[in-house]
Symmetry: C2
Subunit: 187 residues, 2 copies
């Protein structure tokens, strides 16, 4: 792993745990044994770093979605696997999704980061929408509203459940919500 990657990984964790405005170059510097100026060499400003964090995380997330697609074609199992992704992200340290984290900070962020955050939303929503569509066609799901619209609701709910789990340091708050929502739309 090269230094730039090391910085991104460390910063991603700090973002997930504390938020964008609650970690500093010094925090990263201390953790990986490198001076703050060296971080500036790789990422001139904190906003550059923020954008790189999101770009990287988004790519990782999308490759996970591809993996799920390759492992199963059952819409119900796909939704469960998607939920598992969230549970895995939360982990034992109650890490929030970087995308959700940056959304609260969105007013203090420049346009390039916003675009990346929105991109993360739309990527996931598009994937969920296609899973829902297939599920509806196969008679597995019953949703009165449009599948594209419901995909947004589903994603937002998962993000919210992550937040809730974080507030109580209670993983069940996430897993139960995922189970409930999947159950609710099943025929």
């Amino acid at each position: 792993m090269n230094t730039a990657e090391h910085i991104i990984n460390t910063a991603t964790l700090l973002l997930q745990k504390n938020g964008f405005n609650a970690f500093s170059y010094h925090d990263i510097s201390r953790q990986i044994g490198i001076k703050t100026s060296s971080i500036h060499y790789h990422f001139p400003g904190k906003h550059d770093l923020g954008k790189s964090i999101m770009k990287n995380y988004r790519a990782l997330h999308n490759s996970e979605l591809k993996r799920i697609d390759s492992e199963s074609s059952n819409p119900v199992k796909k939704l469960q696997a998607f939920g598992e992704l969230f549970i895995c992200t939360l982990g034992d340290e109650f890490r929030m999704c970087p995308c959700g984290m940056l959304t609260t900070d969105i007013n203090t962020l420049p346009e390039p980061i916003k675009e990346e955050v929105q991109g993360f939303f739309t990527d996931s929503e598009a994937w969920l929408a296609s899973v829902l569509k297939t599920g509806i066609e196969q008679g597995l799901f019953s949703i009165e509203s449009n599948h594209n619209e419901f995909a947004k609701t589903l994603f937002a709910s998962f993000e919210g459940a992550m937040l809730s789990a974080r507030a109580f340091k209670d993983k069940a708050r996430l897993s139960k919500t995922i189970k409930q929502l999947i159950k609710l739309i099943q025929t």
Copy 2:
């Protein structure tokens, strides 16, 4: 309005817009024309201020729930009114719920604030649970899972939808999710 209230109101808005670690005593001081030291007089530390913000907001929110109870006894209408509360909070400036905002910052906050944040969750969840219970008894709602558990899911989903609306500066993302979820549980 006295100064302490003025400070709380100003700080609440700043918290809702930018997050706890993204506003300063100076920001408040500038907005209400008072020195930062005067804010320290009313709220010795930022954490004291944070706790007061949540206490105040929680009380306000609970009185809104009482108002809803007094205005209607129909569970569906109550849920809609609850949703309206969220839409109203979001407003035209896409203000996040202070509780959701502090949840992302939770790792950087002391215990007293955490308790207040969790209290906001449990207050709302308990209210939602009782509305759901009545609705189920009246045959208006159909939820396979326990109403207490589903109340948590509902609240988390609303918070998440708020986040999503904020990310896109799109109020419909919140209102549509509220509508969809209420519709989904109706018989």
